[in-house]
């Protein structure tokens, strides 16, 4: 113990042979390591408290009846606080979505992989650029150059499969988790 009270330098602090020095170094490093781990674990509850709370996460899934939506019409459903676009596509819209060379797409996905039934396109209505709600749900809305949706904030164009075709958005409109519970009934979530 007496050895550790020696001032550094005299006791061979950095020297390999100085046993007291190396023990002090070890204690110093160990204390530092425990301190860092302790500070990090103390910080985590604070940071994690900012993440979605249990009640926010426990959002029930919702059922939507699509029967009243005629061909060519679209509805917007709120799910997890976000708008979900449901569009009853016309035959031409399906045709134009299928009739695309995948190499031309920024985020290449075939139309089949984006729908469960070709006539129903269901996407989260949030532009993948910076989160605006694109226009195109109403027939009178601007639908962009590809007949899908047009985001007015920064000018992204989506096609009739909700794929990004033009503008700053990096990815296609996101697909929500859903399943058909009947012929014209879906459950989101």
């Amino acid at each position: 113990m007496a050895q550790t009270t020696h001032p550094p330098g005299t006791g061979g602090h950095a020297a390999s042979g100085g046993e007291g020095g190396s023990r002090r170094d070890f204690l110093y490093l160990a204390t530092g390591a425990v301190g860092v781990v302790g500070a990090a674990s103390a910080a985590w509850p604070f940071i994690d408290s900012l993440n979605p709370a249990a009640d926010t996460l426990a959002l029930a899934s919702i059922d939507v009846d699509l029967a009243p939506v005629a061909v060519g019409q679209a509805i917007t459903v709120t799910w997890r606080g976000k708008p979900v676009f449901v569009r009853h596509r016309t035959a031409e819209e399906i045709e134009s979505a299928k009739d695309v060379n995948l190499n031309d797409l920024r985020d290449p996905v075939a139309d089949d992989a984006r729908v469960k039934k070709p006539e129903w396109l269901i996407v989260i209505g949030i532009c993948t650029h910076l989160g605006c709600v694109p226009l195109g749900q109403k027939v009178t809305d601007p639908r962009g150059d590809y007949g899908g949706w047009f985001c007015p904030c920064h000018g992204s164009h989506y096609d009739t499969a909700g794929r990004i075709r033009k503008g700053p958005a990096p990815a296609n409109l996101v697909l929500p988790t859903y399943a058909f519970t009947g012929d014209t009934k879906i459950r989101l979530g």
């Binding site: 979605p52 926010t56 917007t76 997890r80 606080g81 989160g131 007015p152 904030c153 000018g155 700053p168």
Partner: protein, 422 residues
């Protein structure tokens, strides 16, 4: 600050306190005898003006917070209640809302003054970097304050800005969820923004104290950009600069009052008087005017991550200004070529601001791209190059020689008190 000679005061109580806690000596030293270059112009008043704006914002903000409710179902109406029912609530809110704009005006002039006269150069680099940090914290505070009234622009501004972080690969989406506390901008977001909007001004106050402390180590720069060589080059802070700053503050407050009383919504956006609706995006989202140049850069780059990096980079770049500018000469007065490019940069910033307010399409997009490219060209290429290529004009020998046209030694000595530490 170094240990200074204690001042003797007439009042024995003041002396008693001062010998135990030398605050009076400190104030006397830093704001009474503190030597200021005798040639500082009115542009040097904007630091004091910005400081006063911070105090006004904290004072009005505190009383607004006593009336405000940070819940999505109450926020918009609580602001309307402040406007209609609370005694002088309209005044407090308009002083606060326009105060943000005036604060930014003062800070932008303060920054451009620093750039024109080379105030960021050695030995004032830390002083300048503290200023850049203050600017960043200010921007964060202003952004979160704009969200609180929970109007359409509040909501969609918050959505767009928080989504900026989703541009970063892998960590982006978890960060955005962390910022929101949910899956979209919602009540948890509003609550934490209110808490942070309350906290950050006090962080700013601390930073401003550090900024001032760093300033008082090496003293103010001046329009000639040469260091004072002795008492003949300086005047005591009080009364010379206190009066000059005071006069500038009064003029600034008159302009501020014109906005508050005659055009209180001129710098705001009418869409923010529509309650927030998560299902409808306004046709044209624009941030507050003081963010427009940076917003233009964000939109100018046709790639999400690239746009975000350009926007943050344009501010981060300012912190490196002391090392990007290789010229030893501080003031633009003696830099004939840089002086012209300085004004081109100032015009570029204004054009970017205008392009940021316009829809991001057609020729405005092109203009924003050219403006963004020029901004980075100025800092990354022009400044290092000019430091080597430019031939500066002859610097004067001293401040007093330049200001008093020669025979200044005696006249200056008559006015200025001698410096304590010669």
């Amino acid at each position: 600050m170094a240990q200074v000679q204690a001042t003797k005061f007439k009042n024995p109580v003041v002396n008693w306190i001062d010998s135990r806690l030398p605050i009076f000596t400190m104030l006397d030293h830093e704001y009474n005898h503190y030597p200021m270059p005798r040639n500082v112009n009115y542009l040097w008043a904007f630091g004091a003006i910005a400081g006063i704006m911070l105090v006004i914002m904290i004072a009005t903000g505190l009383f607004l917070a006593m009336q405000y409710s940070s819940h999505t179902s109450l926020a918009f109406n609580s602001v309307e209640r402040i406007m209609r029912d609370v005694n002088y609530g309209w005044l407090l809110r308009y002083v606060h809302a326009n105060g943000a704009s005036m604060f930014f005006i003062a800070v932008y002039i303060h920054m451009f003054r620093g750039m024109y006269y080379g105030s960021y150069k050695a030995p004032r680099e830390i002083l300048w970097i503290l200023g850049v940090i203050i600017f960043l914290v200010m921007m964060g505070t202003a952004f979160m304050g704009y969200v609180l009234p929970w109007g359409q622009m509040s909501f969609w501004g918050a959505t767009v800005i928080t989504n900026l972080f989703s541009a970063f690969p892998i960590v982006g989406d978890p960060i955005v969820t962390l910022l929101w506390g949910g899956f979209s901008v919602d009540n948890p977001t509003l609550n934490r923004f209110f808490a942070l909007h309350f906290l950050l001004p006090f962080v700013l106050l601390g930073l401003v104290i550090l900024h001032t402390a760093a300033l008082h180590v090496c003293g103010s720069n001046n329009p000639l950009g040469i260091e004072p060589k002795g008492p003949q080059d300086t005047v005591p802070f009080n009364p010379y600069v206190t009066v000059k700053d005071g006069f500038a503050v009064v003029i600034f407050m008159i302009i501020y009052a014109v906005f508050v009383f005659f055009m209180p919504n001129y710098m705001g956006h009418p869409d923010n008087y529509i309650p927030a609706n998560p299902l409808v995006t306004p046709a044209h989202i624009v941030p507050e005017w003081y963010f427009l140049p940076f917003y233009a850069m964000l939109r100018a780059i046709p790639d999400k991550l690239g746009g975000v990096l350009a926007m943050f980079g344009s501010i981060a770049l300012l912190a490196f200004l002391p090392w990007l500018d290789r010229s030893k000469i501080r003031s633009c007065k003696f830099r004939p070529i840089y002086r012209q490019f300085f004004w081109i940069l100032a015009i570029d910033a204004l054009i970017l601001g205008y392009a940021g307010a316009m829809p991001a399409e057609g020729s405005w997009l092109l203009i924003a791209r050219i403006g963004t490219a020029y901004y980075f060209f100025h800092f990354l290429i022009l400044l290092p190059l000019l430091g080597k290529l430019e031939r500066p004009s002859q610097l004067p020998n001293s401040i007093s020689e330049s200001v008093l046209k020669g025979g200044g030694g005696i006249a200056a000595g008559a006015h200025a008190k001698p410096m304590e530490k010669a």
